[in-house]
Symmetry: C2
Subunit: 341 residues, 2 copies
């Protein structure tokens, strides 16, 4: 099916665009009252993720209500540990929680390499959403980066320092690589399943990139992200590694189309480090959307000027905060759409 709005894909492929495309990380399922309304009729977070009709509905809401140029499937990066045999719960206001964690070779041997069919609900949600979107905008599939997934599987929950997960890398490097291998194969299967179901783009989120040293990041994260990028040739891949400022030069060599930047990373410096061939995605400070309208417009336009008119996909530098006023988001989106370089 031909896309009616393919700005995102053209920007990612380095083709000319008449204006910069825009979407927001976490736009599906966070800020909209319409999302909360649908959600209030349902159960907990995981039941929502596992319900393709619900996931489809909230994935499309931002396209209708905010006017973004791409939809991202409503799901969670932790579906992969669960598909591999390590179930989790999402505890209200506390975040993810694993009853069992990984600490030994036997723990890792018990895990299976997940197939896309082990996350059938998200694959089904992608297929349903693709159909319902009817070519209006591209649909983004996603997965967590192997290091970020490992960090939850070892730590068992969120953490300020993820010191247990980092300790595992320093004390059990051989086991860490064995686990990362299994996560990587599972992630490739899962992303290929989303692509087969209709995802036009996939994004790899390395949420905990920034807590590793540059040396550890190369050894335990980037090489597995590279494997994923090499395995996916069907659609453009975006890699977003929060906090990995030190890896930008290496990331320029990845076999992907787009590198996401957080709000700490200077656009011009990032462009110089990453190279001219990649699209860059980002990177407004999510907190700007708390400001008055004039401040939002000023910061958004400064960002657009800093990235320039081509090979840029406008976004925030991290996921949108849940208490942001949707009108402020619309102002951000409309400012990008109205801007002319």
């Amino acid at each position: 099916m031909t896309l009616k709005n393919d700005l995102f894909l053209r920007a990612a492929r380095g083709e000319q665009v008449e204006r910069t495309p825009v979407w927001l990380m976490r736009q599906a399922g966070r800020i909209l009252p319409e999302y909360r309304e649908v959600r209030s009729r349902m159960g907990g977070f995981k039941e929502l993720v596992e319900n393709p009709e619900f996931a489809c509905e909230v994935t499309i809401q931002p396209v209708d209500l905010l006017g973004v140029d791409a939809a991202i499937i409503f799901s969670d990066i932790l579906v992969i540990p669960e598909a591999m045999g390590l179930p989790y719960q999402m505890v209200e206001k506390r975040g993810p929680w694993f009853d069992r964690t990984i600490s030994s070779a036997a723990d890792i041997d018990r895990l299976r390499v997940a197939e896309a069919s082990d996350v059938q609900y998200t694959v089904d949600a992608v297929a349903l959403t693709k159909k319902e979107l009817n070519g209006r905008v591209p649909l983004i599939g996603f997965a967590g980066a192997p290091w970020t997934i490992l960090s939850y599987m070892v730590e068992g929950s969120g953490s300020k320092t993820f010191s247990k997960a980092k300790k595992f890398l320093y004390t059990e490097p051989v086991l860490a690589h064995r686990l990362l291998e299994k996560i990587t194969l599972s992630t490739i299967n899962y992303l290929k399943g989303q692509i087969a179901a209709g995802a036009d783009v996939v994004q790899v989120f390395d949420s905990w990139a920034g807590i590793l040293s540059p040396e550890q990041y190369r050894e335990f994260s980037l090489r597995y992200i590279a494997r994923i990028c090499d395995a996916i040739s069907e659609v453009p891949v975006t890699v977003f590694a929060k906090g990995a400022f030190f890896a930008r030069e290496d990331m320029g060599k990845l076999n992907c189309r787009t590198i996401g930047l957080d709000w700490n990373m200077d656009p011009a410096e990032s462009r110089a480090l990453i190279g001219p061939h990649m699209a860059l995605q980002g990177n407004l400070d999510p907190c700007v959307l708390y400001a008055d309208d004039a401040t939002i417009v000023r910061h958004t336009e400064d960002m657009l000027r800093a990235f320039g008119p081509q090979r840029h996909i406008a976004n925030l530098g991290h996921g949108i905060y849940p208490d942001i006023d949707p009108d402020k988001v619309r102002l951000f989106v409309n400012t990008v759409k109205a801007f002319r370089h």
Copy 2:
């Protein structure tokens, strides 16, 4: 009084040293069983901070028990908000808590510019420790950077995103500057009081530097740190801005002697950005101290080679974690001391 071990001061001033000096952030009052033993006889954390005899005892413990080349006074950066009129509590396992926070001009007008005598207990602790150290090693005084202090005063507690504090910068920049001005003047008074009492060096900790955009960091943090550096000419100043990789070039222009680096920051790249004239402090990943002995030695020696023999003060890239085995710390310290370039 002449210092018997002035390696730290010589490294900070760029003078030749026969070996690299070493100490650890948070070495006073965190990991030693001897600290916990003294502490168990006392009350809560704040009562410890406000007790000069206790502060003196635990400040000196790491010199005796770990063999470090500098002592850092046992205190807390949040003594300054309290001295300005905003009291806090330290809640066990939860961290700092302010009953009142800052959100309006009236709130700021009610605050006073603190004098060193408003934190007399820490000034007394410095004087007592200086006497008890008897010139064995230099004594480090410290304070929080104005932005980090503001972030607690506005947020009211620790936070993953400090979005309330950042929102304040975007929505109330004039008030933010008024508050930062008062904090800066208080901090200068406080550091000068510590120096008058005998501190041989002072360090400014900008713990939440890394959550600001480069533009905000320049406007709301670095310019006040520069004011502090310009005001302190009596002793060498160290500035440690966690996560502010994007500000390293600007930090090279500060009127201070030493820049602290976190473990994400590459030594050679940091040297190139900051310039040849500064000492650099850091930056072993604190998690390395969870590893086996051979791994600790390897990473410590790699770090020493990366920084080179002069103008380097060995340290961790962040505060030591409370559950680290003191024998691992001794191994780190002794590896630095035994290493020859």
